[in-house]
C-alpha cells in the first residue's frame, strides 16, 4: 500500500509494525528502518481510524458535536466533553453552577485515574509482565461501574453539556467513590511493589527514549510526557478552569525524560487525583447541576479556544463561528498527535525491542491521533 523509499544503504531493513499489532494499542502503522537491531528511523502512517470528525462537526449543532468527541480519546471521554462544553460556555458567557463545576472536576479526576490505571497495566504488558494487566482492569472496572450508574455509559459518557452536566449524581455516587478511594489507596502501594522497584522493569525503561526538556517543548509533547522531561506543563495549574485554582494538588514533574520518568509521573498523578477527589467528595455544593440555556445555541461571530488537561496532555478546542447554529470550522488539538510526532526523535539509536517500551510510555490512543 505504501511506497517506501528504500534505504540507500543496502544493509538496512524496512520493517512494518502494525496496523494490526498488539503493541501499537490500536491501528497505528509504523514503518521502521533498521540497521541490524538498531532503529534508524520511525515513520508513522496514520489514518486507519480517521473519521474526519472536524468535517463532521461542521454540520452538527453545538449540542450535538460534543457527542462525537467522546469517540476521539475514548479513555478521556469526560475531559474531551469538558473542553468542548467550556468552549461553548465561553462563547455564550454561561455561568456554570458551583455544583456542576465540582461534579465535572470529580468526573475528570476519576477518568484520569481510570485512564492511568489502564495505561499502567498495558505498559507492564508491553515490557513482558502479564499480571499487572489483570490488577489494573479490576480497579478500572470499579470506576466504570460508578460512571455507568451516574452517566448511563461506561466509556462514551457524553455527560457534560453546555451549562453543566446532563443530570444529577446518582444517590450511590458518594458512597461508592469513597469505597473506591480506600480500596485504591492500598492497591497503589501494591502497584509500586509489583512494578515500580522491579529491577527488570527498571532496566527496560531507564535511559530509554530520552526526551530533553527543550525537545518536549518544541514537539509540543504535553501531559505526562512533557512533565517527565521536566516541563511543568499542566493546564490545570497554568491556565486553571472550573474550580482547580481552589484545590490543593501538586504538579508531578520528573527530570530524567526517559520512559521510567514518564512512568513515575503517571503514578504520582494517580495519587494527586485521589487527593483532589478526597477534597471534593464531601463538599459537593447543593444547587443546580445545569445552568438554564436556550434550546438552540447560536454562538456569536468570532473565534473561541479552550484548553483542558486530559490524561494524555493538553486538549484544545478551537471554534470559528459565523453566527450560525453549527460551527464554521472546528479544530481539535489532540495531545496524542503531538506526542506521537516526538516518537521518531526518541527512538532513533535504540534497539527495536525498546520501541515497544517507548510507545507504551507515550500512552497513545489512536482514535485521538487520527480524529
Amino acid at each position: 500500500m505504501f511506497k517506501e523509499v528504500l534505504a540507500e544503504d543496502q544493509d538496512c531493513l524496512t520493517l512494518n509494525v502494525g496496523p494490526q499489532h498488539p503493541s501499537t494499542h490500536g491501528v497505528l502503522h509504523l514503518v521502521i528502518t533498521l540497521k541490524g537491531e538498531t532503529i534508524l528511523r520511525v515513520d508513522p502512517h496514520l489514518g486507519y481510524i480517521h473519521r474526519s470528525i472536524e468535517k463532521m462537526c461542521e454540520s452538527l449543532s453545538y449540542r450535538q458535536f460534543i457527542y462525537v468527541t467522546s469517540r476521539m480519546d475514548y479513555l478521556s471521554a469526560h475531559i474531551n466533553n469538558h473542553g468542548c462544553a467550556l468552549c461553548v460556555e465561553k462563547a455564550l458567557q454561561i455561568e456554570v453552577p458551583q455544583r456542576a463545576q465540582v461534579i465535572r472536576v470529580l468526573m475528570d479526576e476519576l477518568t484520569r485515574i481510570a485512564s492511568h490505571v489502564l495505561w499502567w497495566g498495558a505498559m507492564a504488558m508491553d515490557v513482558g509482565a502479564i499480571t499487572p494487566f489483570f490488577h489494573a482492569f479490576r480497579e478500572r472496572e470499579m470506576i466504570n461501574e460508578i460512571m455507568e450508574e451516574t452517566c448511563g455509559a461506561r466509556l462514551t459518557m457524553n455527560y457534560m453539556v453546555p451549562g453543566g452536566v446532563m443530570y444529577d449524581l446518582h444517590p450511590n455516587f458518594q458512597r461508592r467513590v469513597k469505597q473506591f478511594i480506600s480500596f485504591f489507596k492500598s492497591k497503589l502501594n501494591e502497584y509500586d511493589e509489583l512494578l515500580t522497584d522491579n529491577i527488570i522493569f527498571k532496566q527496560r525503561t531507564q535511559h530509554i527514549g530520552v526526551l530533553r526538556r527543550e525537545d518536549a517543548i518544541s514537539f509540543g509533547a504535553t501531559g505526562p510526557v512533557g512533565r517527565g522531561s521536566g516541563w511543568a506543563c499542566d493546564v490545570r495549574k497554568r491556565a486553571p478552569y472550573e474550580c482547580y485554582h481552589q484545590l490543593q494538588f501538586e504538579q508531578v514533574v520528573e527530570q530524567a525524560g526517559d520512559c521510567y520518568a514518564r512512568y513515575l509521573v503517571r503514578m504520582g498523578e494517580m495519587r494527586q487525583s485521589l487527593s483532589i477527589i478526597e477534597q471534593l467528595i464531601d463538599n459537593i455544593p447543593s444547587g443546580d447541576y445545569q445552568a438554564k440555556t436556550k434550546a438552540v445555541l447560536k454562538l456569536p461571530k468570532g473565534e473561541y479556544y479552550s484548553r483542558v488537561e486530559t490524561a494524555r496532555g493538553e486538549f484544545g478546542v478551537y471554534i470559528v463561528s459565523d453566527g450560525g447554529t453549527t460551527p464554521y470550522r472546528i479544530k481539535f488539538r489532540s495531545p496524542g498527535f503531538s506526542n506521537l510526532s516526538a516518537l521518531d526523535h526518541m527512538s532513533r539509536g535504540h534497539k527495536i525491542g525498546d520501541l515497544v517500551a517507548i510507545m507504551g510510555s507515550l500512552d497513545l490512543v489512536i482514535p485521538d491521533i487520527d480524529r
Binding site: 468535517k55 491556565a239 473565534e303 484548553r307 479544530k331
Partner: protein
C-alpha cells in the same frame, strides 16, 4: 494580564524585522503577517527575550471561501503569554513557508493542513500525506467546496 501583554507586544513589534499588524483579538492578542514575512517573524517571536514563544500548541487553517487563513497559536513554555498569528493565503495557490525547523511540532501539523486544505509549505522537510491514503493528493476534504459522492458526510 492581556493588557500588559499588549503593551509588551507593541514595544517589541516596533522593532520587528517585518511589518506586523497587531489587534486585540477576542481572547488573545492577534498578529497578522504577510505569508512572505512569516519565516522572518517566526524565529523573532520564538527568540525575543521578552516573548520567548517557544511552544506552538495549535496550528490550523480556515477556509473562508475567498481565501485561506493560517492560524498559529503560540505560547511561552511557562505559559503566561499566548499570541495568535494569522496569515492570509491565496486560495488558488496557497503557499507559505514551513516553520517545522522552528517549532518541530509543526512538521506533523503542517502535513495535516497540506492534505486537508492543500496548503503548500515551502521548505518542509517531508511534505507527504499523513492521514489520507494514497491518491488523495489535490482533493482537500476540509475545503468548503469539497464534494465526494462516496465519502461525503452530510447530516
Amino acid at each position: 494580564m492581556n493588557a500588559s501583554l499588549e503593551t509588551t507586544l507593541q514595544s517589541v513589534l516596533a522593532a520587528a524585522p517585518v511589518p506586523v499588524q497587531l489587534t486585540a483579538g477576542s481572547q488573545w492578542p492577534e498578529l497578522v503577517v504577510a505569508p512572505d514575512d512569516w519565516p522572518t517573524l517566526a524565529p523573532f517571536l520564538r527568540d525575543h527575550a521578552e516573548l520567548r514563544l517557544d511552544f506552538m500548541f495549535c496550528l490550523t487553517c480556515v477556509d473562508w471561501k475567498t481565501h485561506l487563513t493560517m492560524v498559529y497559536h503560540l505560547n511561552n513554555s511557562s505559559c503566561e503569554r499566548v499570541v495568535v498569528v494569522k496569515s492570509v493565503l491565496d486560495r488558488q495557490q496557497p503557499r507559505v513557508a514551513s516553520v517545522a525547523n522552528i517549532w518541530r511540532t509543526a512538521e506533523f501539523h503542517e502535513r495535516e493542513v497540506y492534505e486537508l486544505f492543500g496548503v503548500h509549505f515551502v521548505g518542509h522537510p517531508d511534505l507527504r500525506l499523513l492521514i489520507l491514503p494514497e491518491g488523495w493528493e489535490g482533493r482537500n476534504p476540509l475545503r468548503k467546496d469539497f464534494e465526494d459522492p462516496v465519502n461525503m458526510i452530510r447530516l
